[in-house]
């Protein structure tokens, strides 16, 4: 269980990024954080990752406060951020330095196979497409077997086909150990395709506007998916002060 208790964050320049965020995310849930720009989605993710510290409130993983980067928490950035001087397999195994070479190889090989990059294990990052690089970055986060995985709009720079392909790879990996996933996105369709629950955020300062439960489309119910999309889009529009009609989805 990941709990976020009344977290507030104000940056040194006075920007009030987050105020009064309260969330409880049960283990294994995929939660989407949806909202317009400036609503503090990325800030919240960085706080959970331990890269920044909140001004007040606390973030706890199974009861223990997160005060810095945590072995149980993995992060996939918006860009792949692969290390250009390491091959793909070494990039994926970057966080496994504490393991024996044999075990590291085995785990890297397994996760590379899951994201379909086995054939590229010995290539340089620069030889891969953007989608392949992001797949490697996701593999790098999964291979450390985190309890909580944070995804900061990792698919936003990719084309629609590649994005769907990555959704598939993400869910395949998730199904193995079922980590809790916090997915930041501004894409309603992406949230509906992946998440159990979507939290809509609102800017100035960033806070929680509303929550939408999503019957996972992977349960195979298109009606539920359309309903969830419509509900989420309505709430997102409301959080941005827009009218529903402009972006309404035809039934």
């Amino acid at each position: 269980m990941l709990t976020i208790q009344d977290v507030a964050k104000t940056y040194a320049d006075g920007t009030e990024a987050l105020a009064g965020i309260r969330l409880a995310i049960p283990a294994g849930e995929i939660l989407a954080l949806v909202g317009g720009s400036g609503c503090g989605k990325t800030t919240l993710l960085r706080l959970v990752a331990g890269l920044d510290t909140p001004n007040s409130g606390a973030i706890r993983l199974d009861g223990a406060a997160i005060t810095g980067p945590h072995p149980g928490v993995g992060l996939v950035f918006q860009e792949p951020r692969l290390l250009p001087w390491l091959g793909i397999a070494e990039n994926v195994g970057f966080g496994l330095a504490h393991l024996s070479r044999t075990e590291r190889r085995a785990r890297v090989a397994h996760v590379l196979d899951r994201v379909g990059l086995s054939a590229h294990a010995d290539r340089w990052p620069r030889d891969l497409s953007g989608g392949q690089q992001q797949r490697a970055a996701i593999a790098r986060a999964f291979v450390a077997d985190p309890k909580v995985l944070l995804l900061d709009e990792p698919f936003s720079a990719l084309d629609a086909v590649t994005r769907e392909d990555l959704h598939h790879h993400l869910l395949t990996l998730w199904a193995e150990a079922r980590p809790t996933i916090l997915l930041v996105t501004h894409d309603v369709a992406e949230a509906v395709a992946l998440a159990d629950r979507a939290v809509v955020m609102r800017p100035h300062p960033g806070r929680i506007h509303d929550t939408v439960d999503i019957a996972r489309p992977r349960s195979g119910d298109p009606e539920a998916s359309v309903a969830a999309t419509r509900a989420l889009r309505a709430k997102l529009d409301a959080s941005l002060g827009r009218t529903l009609s402009r972006t309404a989805v035809p039934a």
């Binding site: 980067p69 290390l83 970057f94 054939a119 290539r123």
Partner: protein, 288 residues
């Protein structure tokens, strides 16, 4: 040095054949004839000029007293080589450059690493070093001679000073411009300060460091000439001075030719030694 994190040592067994077609294919050597062709291309203009001058002198269009034809310069070089004198001078010069370069580069890397990573060291050292850098290095010569005598030590120290500044600037600049985003990757994986330095900072600053080492090496040759012009009993710079005093332009040109060859060879050696560390770089030279 531990290059375990730099060389792709973690390659999967099953992927070894992929390495051949994948990364191996990318970085494959150019066909030998193209490499050779480029080499010949680089020689075309110097050789053409030399040939033109030779012909002009032979035809009596120019008289070769002050600017001797290439044949005479090469002849002088050959005579120096055969008598063994050339090797004495080359050895003296190369020893000075090597010692000065090693000393200057070592201190440059050390100081650059200190000021690049520790704010206290930066605030303490950098302003002073920047001010010293503004002093033309030759201005130190009288002081070095007073302090260190006129033998080898002041020469090596002068070269080291010349090498130090570009290396220092290059290393501290390279550290300052390390991508913060990659450092964050290290933080997410909870690297210790030492591991962060070894696994992220070191590989990230290598390209800039190597460029600064090449600049430093070039300056090493610049300052060895300066040092030898000011008083030496051997070395290529001594050949220059002696050539001037005894009116032997062919000897001066022979020494200059030797400098050109040695400088180019030393740089090529440095590039060859460091190339394995930079195979990952996506350099445009591969494409152009």
């Amino acid at each position: 040095m531990s290059t375990g994190s730099i060389s792709p040592a973690l390659g999967l067994d099953a992927g070894s054949s992929v390495a051949e077609s994948g990364r191996g294919a990318r970085s494959r050597a150019r066909p030998a004839w193209r490499h050779g062709g480029r080499f010949v291309l680089g020689l075309l203009i110097p050789l053409g000029l030399a040939l033109g001058w030779e012909l002009a002198t032979r035809a009596g269009l120019a008289q070769g007293r002050l600017l001797p034809p290439p044949s005479r310069v090469l002849g002088t070089l050959l005579t120096l080589a055969q008598s063994g004198d050339l090797w004495v001078h080359v050895r003296a010069t190369l020893t000075r450059v090597a010692l000065g370069f090693l000393g200057g580069a070592a201190f440059g890397i050390l100081a650059g690493a200190l000021t690049g990573t520790l704010p206290l060291a930066r605030h303490l050292l950098d302003p002073g070093l920047q001010a010293l850098r503004a002093v033309p290095s030759l201005a130190w010569v009288p002081l070095f001679i007073l302090w260190l005598g006129i033998l080898e030590t002041p020469k090596v120290v002068l070269i080291a000073v010349g090498v130090f500044f570009p290396v220092y600037g290059g290393v501290s600049g390279a550290i300052a411009s390390v991508d913060r985003k990659l450092v964050e990757v290290g933080r997410i994986f909870r690297l210790s300060r030492l591991a962060l330095a070894r696994r992220i900072l070191l590989p990230a600053v290598l390209p800039g460091t190597i460029v600064s080492l090449r600049t430093g090496l070039g300056l090493g040759f610049l300052f060895v000439v300066a040092a030898e012009l000011m008083g030496a009993s051997e070395g290529l710079g001594y050949l220059l001075v002696e050539g001037q005093q005894f009116g032997k332009p062919d000897q001066i040109l022979a020494a200059i030719l030797a400098f050109a060859v040695l400088g180019k060879l030393a740089d090529a050696l440095l590039v060859a030694l460091t190339r394995p560390l930079l195979r990952w770089q996506d350099v445009s030279r591969d494409v152009l």
